[in-house]
């Protein structure tokens, strides 16, 4: 015990000195991290995105419901949060509705198609290809597509619920158009694994639930492709607007019986509000 006390006596001031040094180092490191975060925040550009396609074109070929292809027009409303960082982009998207009224070749046959989706995309800057910024990343999404064909009585309501993990990539370049800096971007998403749920045909409310399938690439196919031009809004350097053309197509074969193909084309206009 006495030896222990003896051993501790001369170490007291040294330990205190070492503690204060470490404390100072920790504080410095924390401040450095904070300032790095602050710098990162300063470099991060965040937008609230409000988007609409006053008119879009939809195609549905659901061979459980009908043998013919249905086509029609509708409208689309989407909102989201889009942020650009030095390392890449984050895009949280909520497709509130993509609603269309479709008709078969016999124009008296009607179908209503309503599509909703929530997704998150992260695209990391990979490299420059000349003037083009290549970004690669992924998308996680959950979508619901409701098709209602009143002529089909108790089979009139069909619902697909699909959760997907997709590979995503984009190309973007900036150029001057009409004296303003403009960007053109093209983005592609292809799910590599999905979980597909489909309501049984019988319209038995509360019975049977969703028939669901794990669907790796090949069993469930989806391609989301979007090309858009983004320009500053008015004299503001903060806000922007974007005009984009998007094509969204998915297909799967249910129970080895029925082919389902759904495609949508939309020419949309978006307002990007910086905050």
């Amino acid at each position: 015990m006495a030896w222990a006390l003896l051993a501790l006596l001369p170490l007291g001031p040294l330990t205190a000195q070492s503690d204060s040094t470490r404390k100072a180092e920790r504080t410095a490191a924390r401040e450095a991290r904070q300032s790095a975060r602050e710098a990162y925040r300063m470099q991060k550009t965040r937008y609230l995105v409000l988007e609409t396609a006053p008119l879009h074109y939809g195609v549905a070929q659901d061979q459980r419901m009908m043998q013919s292809t249905y086509r029609g027009l509708g409208t689309m409303v989407r909102m989201g949060h889009y942020s650009i960082t030095p390392k890449g982009v984050h895009d949280v998207d909520w497709l509130l509705t993509r609603f269309s009224v479709m008709f078969g070749p016999e124009l008296d046959a009607l179908m209503i198609n309503s599509f909703n989706e929530f997704s998150y995309t992260y695209l990391r800057n990979v490299r420059m290809l000349g003037a083009w910024q290549l970004r690669l990343g992924g998308t996680g999404s959950l979508l619901g597509n409701l098709r209602v064909a009143p002529a089909l009585a108790n089979s009139s309501i069909n619902l697909d619920v699909i959760a997907s993990a997709a590979a995503a990539g984009s190309l973007e370049r900036y150029f001057t158009l009409l004296k303003r800096e403009t960007s053109f971007s093209y983005q592609l998403q292809v799910p590599v694994f999905s979980y597909v749920g489909r309501r049984p045909a019988y319209g038995l409310s509360g019975f049977g639930g969703l028939a669901s399938y794990a669907a790796p690439i090949g069993r469930f196919t989806r391609v989301v492709s979007e090309a858009g031009l983004t320009r500053p809004l008015g004299r503001s350097e903060d806000n922007a607007w974007r005009v984009a053309y998007s094509w969204d197509f998915y297909a799967f074969r249910e129970l080895r019986i029925h082919h389902l193909r759904v495609a949508n084309h939309a020419l949309s206009l978006a307002l990007l509000i910086r905050f």
């Binding site: 009908m66 043998q67 089909l152 045909a201 019988y202 090309a227 129970l255 019986i257």
Partner: protein, 339 residues
């Protein structure tokens, strides 16, 4: 700039290629429509084996009757005859000018229901129309007629009926000539007659193109009705007689399946009409709508109820009773509940 516009154009063109993936638009010639109809039934119909039907053999008899120059009506008649071979009330082809059907399940049996007898022999303008139900109070026994499971039932309707008859010895539920409708209504009504969960049967669905491709059997469980906002729903656990005839079809075939699993319930009358297979519908390329049974329904003992559910007490309307405005089934139900 030019390169950008080129890329933009290429992206748009590449993005519009769903035509590559879409199946070719089906033809509307009679031979194509015949093929569509036969194929849909071949893949969806649930009872080929149960009914011993060789669908390929059926095709071989009807296909030669099809020619691309035939009229719409003639094509409809050939398809209707082919579908008639399935002997199934849930198999119909609907066009603008007709609906193909097989109603032999009740046309070859006694009708066992006459509303005039009820009106003149019993109700005499004293009946009550409460929501989708016709109610009549025999004093010691309540009577509730439900003419169609397509008529919407609300919890409030059921609360009213069961409160009204709460003090009676028993209740008669008359589903004769009820040709079905929504299974949600079946569940809603039956859930008022039990205080515990009851397995009422099982079912399975087509799961592939083969005639015997089905999902595993799945139990159907009747759960007691739940209250709203802490208010307990009205229930009836005293004796109940369900009156049925061969025209009690589809959802009105499910209802006795649910009710016979309950200890206080007696099924009375004729075997129900059947229709245990839930129908799947599709629209053919010419706009006609085709439906066929695409699931199988079994009672807890594994009995396939496609052709109906036998009653616990078999009784027909006696013509002499009918002539005197007496309903033989109703009288036996009253006698049973008053004992």
């Amino acid at each position: 700039m030019l390169r950008t516009l080129t890329l933009l154009s290429a992206a748009i063109l590449l993005s519009s290629c769903e035509q590559l993936f879409l199946k070719p638009e089906p033809g509307t010639a009679p031979s194509a429509i015949f093929d569509e109809a036969w194929t849909f039934v071949d893949r969806e119909y649930a009872f080929f084996k149960y009914k011993g039907i060789d669908w390929n053999e059926v095709r071989s008899r009807y296909e030669p009757l099809i020619s691309d120059g035939m009229s719409e009506e003639d094509l409809f008649d050939v398809l209707a005859s082919m579908l008639y071979e399935l002997r199934d009330g849930h198999v119909n082809l609907s066009s603008d000018f007709d609906i193909s059907r097989n109603w032999t399940w009740y046309l070859n049996s006694p009708q066992n229901f006459n509303f005039t007898v009820l009106e003149r022999g019993y109700f005499q303008e004293k009946e009550q129309y409460a929501g989708p139900f016709i109610l009549y109070d025999f004093g010691d026994v309540g009577y509730m007629r439900y003419a169609s499971f397509a008529s919407t039932v609300t919890p409030a309707d059921l609360d009213y009926v069961l409160e009204k008859f709460a003090d009676r010895k028993g209740l008669i539920i008359d589903i004769r000539d009820n040709d079905g409708g929504s299974l949600a209504n079946v569940n809603l009504i039956a859930s008022r007659f039990t205080e515990t969960e009851v397995t009422i049967g099982s079912w399975s669905f087509k799961s592939g193109p083969g005639h015997e491709d089905f999902t595993p059997l799945e139990d159907i469980v009747l759960e007691p009705a739940e209250g709203l906002l802490g208010v307990e729903p009205k229930r009836f656990t005293k004796p109940v007689v369900v009156l049925m005839n061969r025209s009690s079809y589809s959802a009105a075939n499910f209802f006795p399946l649910y009710m016979k699993a309950l200890p206080q319930v007696t099924l009375m009358g004729d075997t129900s009409g059947g229709g245990g297979g839930a129908p799947a519908n599709t629209q053919l390329a010419n706009g006609w709508v085709l439906r066929c049974s695409s699931s199988r329904l079994f009672d807890p003992q594994g009995f396939n109820v496609e052709n109906g559910i036998p009653p616990d007490v078999r009784v027909d309307l006696d013509p002499a009773d009918e002539a005197a405005f007496r309903d033989t089934m109703l009288e036996l139900a009253l006698f049973t509940l008053r004992r």
